[in-house]
């Protein structure tokens, strides 16, 4: 009998369509796997009935000869940042605990329309602010991976750490993620899976709890490049309800997948050779070049001179936007209200927000409030936006010399939970390679490259031109075919 939990999106979709098995069998297997993996703490709530209902609908559609959607019969995990009608949506915060949306986000609605079902809402860093999944009000998520011969719980990355943990542990074939400054790519790299952040605007932000609106972008996380291509196609759409939605046709990425990179030039940015980058990561980068050469690509050295300034610019822009976006949590319209006896409106705001936000969220709101305050706005915020323009211009200049960029996804492999908590800055540096593409709004993907000497996964990052997810996916496929990454975490949960 097939172990359905080993199957990915494509295998499930094709198996259901051809009648090799039913969507219900698949949903039941994953529901059981989710129920048996509580120790990972990957889910905030589980929705086995949602998964079964979608499965039954897919099976019924097949039985009556109707056309099946691109994700028909595939149960997925939904990051708890997407509003889901009638199902609690918290952004892993206390302030939204119990919040039950009366509508469905565009991305999740697209996925249900394509025939997918929901296994549950996935844990994350609170309001997607974090790189280790240690800022959730609902507790840390553990990676299914551990160092060889060690028992310490490792970080699944963040902020989409519930997503990465669930997909790597085979309790979900795929999951949604969101990426503001690396929140899809870094967790994908830490857990040996694939994840793509498309061009800014491809996936609607309508119904996604906002962190930094000019950067937030949804994308799929799965165990193969093909699965990511299929799921991204199902998630993306033009949406008039999102003012920054891309009004362009969604390409059929799956159909155009090809690992033949003849004629493509791959840029290697010299500024990404940074002090403190792990040796095993540098070695995997070299290996990545060889794989892409083998696929027919030409390797060229390029320069992205403002790379060093991308991360500090991000840590002004993202908190500034967050401080503005999170002003909506006021104890009036939804979410927590903390109203001490005799308190007035202003006290209610301050008490509610003190009780409802975690430490990292407060820290970022304060930074954002400070850099936007009178007298500091130009020195910090305007300067950061100008630097952002220069980071984006670096990429524009690079495209004169190459078609895509290869770089590491992260400067190190995963680390034990709790090991980087003393200093917020050390944690922020995790996203040093991921943030430049976010600032420029470019499509970027992480694919597994191999294991480090400790037995932990490493990822390689591909960054493409705006709107050119196809080249990114194709190069990802070329790496996937050559890396032959088949390692999986040993079950301890």
């Amino acid at each position: 009998m097939t172990d359905f939990t080993e199957l990915g999106v494509k295998a499930i979709r094709d198996g259901v369509a051809s009648g090799d098995f039913t969507a219900r069998e698949v949903a039941e297997s994953f529901n059981a796997a989710v129920a048996g993996a509580a120790q990972l703490n990957a889910f905030i709530v589980t929705t086995p009935d949602h998964a079964l209902a979608a499965a039954d609908a897919a099976d019924a559609a097949r039985a009556s000869g109707k056309a099946l959607g691109a994700m028909a019969g595939v149960p997925i995990g939904m990051k708890d940042l997407f509003a889901t009608h009638g199902v609690q949506t918290t952004a892993a915060s206390h302030i939204l605990e119990g919040f039950t949306p009366q509508y469905e986000s565009t991305v999740s609605a697209n996925l249900w329309n394509a025939g997918a079902g929901m296994l549950g809402k996935l844990n994350l860093d609170q309001f997607a602010m974090g790189s280790s999944n240690e800022t959730s009000y609902f507790g840390n998520v553990a990676s299914p991976w551990r160092k060889e011969g060690a028992n310490a719980s490792m970080s699944p990355g963040g902020s989409s750490g519930g997503s990465s943990s669930a997909v790597a542990a085979r309790i979900a074939p795929a999951a949604t993620g969101t990426d503001t400054g690396g929140s899809i790519r870094q967790p994908a790299a830490f857990t040996g899976i694939c994840g793509i952040k498309p061009t800014y605007g491809r996936c609607s932000r309508w119904g996604v709890v906002a962190f930094a609106s000019s950067l937030d972008q949804a994308g799929p996380m799965a165990r193969s490049v093909e699965d990511c291509a299929i799921m991204l196609g199902a998630m993306a759409s033009f949406d008039a309800k999102d003012a920054t939605s891309l009004d362009a046709p969604v390409p059929d990425w799956e159909a155009a997948l090809s690992s033949d990179l003849k004629g493509k030039k791959v840029g290697i940015p010299r500024e990404y050779r940074m002090d403190g980058t792990d040796e095993a990561i540098m070695a995997s980068w070299e290996q990545g070049k060889e794989w892409l050469k083998d696929a027919g690509a030409e390797i060229v050295d390029i320069s992205l001179p403002h790379t060093k300034y991308a991360l500090p610019a991000y840590y002004i822009i993202a908190p500034a936007e967050a401080s503005s976006n999170l002003a909506r949590y006021d104890g009036v319209r939804y979410g927590l209200r903390d109203l001490p006896d005799g308190a007035g409106l202003q006290d209610m705001y301050a008490e509610t927000r003190a009780a409802g936000f975690g430490d990292e969220v407060k820290r970022r709101i304060l930074i954002g409030t400070y850099v936007l305050s009178a007298g500091f706005y130009d020195a910090y915020y305007t300067q950061a936006q100008k630097v952002r323009a220069l980071v984006a211009r670096d990429f524009d200049n690079a495209w004169a010399e190459c078609d895509l960029i290869l770089a590491p996804t992260t400067p190190t492999a995963s680390f034990p939970l709790g090991s980087l908590n003393d200093d917020p800055l050390t944690m922020y540096l995790n996203d040093v390679f991921a943030v430049p593409a976010s600032l420029a709004g470019l499509p970027a993907m992480s694919v597994p490259a191999g294991l480090n000497p400790d037995g932990l996964p490493l990822g390689l990052q591909l960054v493409g031109k705006a709107f050119d997810e196809q080249t990114v996916l194709n190069a990802g496929l070329a790496i996937q075919e050559r890396a032959g990454f088949s390692a999986k975490p040993e079950r301890w949960w």
Partner: protein, 100 residues
């Protein structure tokens, strides 16, 4: 530029987050570390560079001048709007008394 406890208290007030003395004190070095680090942006020559506010430059779209063109964002959804309110009263959001 660096912040002291008084400045952090002022920012927390602007952000409407109540904070005790110990929290304010703990935040002073944390925020200063972050601010010292972002200070390096001052080195960058940005002469003639326009601040970047949007990734894909483009004009704002206008929607059709039609009432409730999209029912999801249209009117007539008072029940949905109030469904998650901590204190909905008589079809409104209830708040503590603001006028003496």
């Amino acid at each position: 530029m660096s912040v002291d406890k008084q400045t952090v208290a002022k920012i927390a007030g602007l952000a409407r987050i109540k904070m005790g003395d110990d929290q304010l004190e703990a935040l002073v070095p944390e925020l200063n570390n972050i601010l010292d680090w972002v200070e390096q942006l001052g080195e960058v020559d940005v002469t003639g560079v326009e601040p970047m506010a949007a990734v894909i430059p483009g004009a704002m779209r206008l929607r059709a001048d039609e009432v409730d063109a999209d029912p999801k964002t249209g009117g007539g959804r008072q029940g949905d709007v109030l469904a998650n309110a901590p204190a909905a009263e008589h079809g409104f959001f209830g708040v503590p008394k603001v006028i003496e």
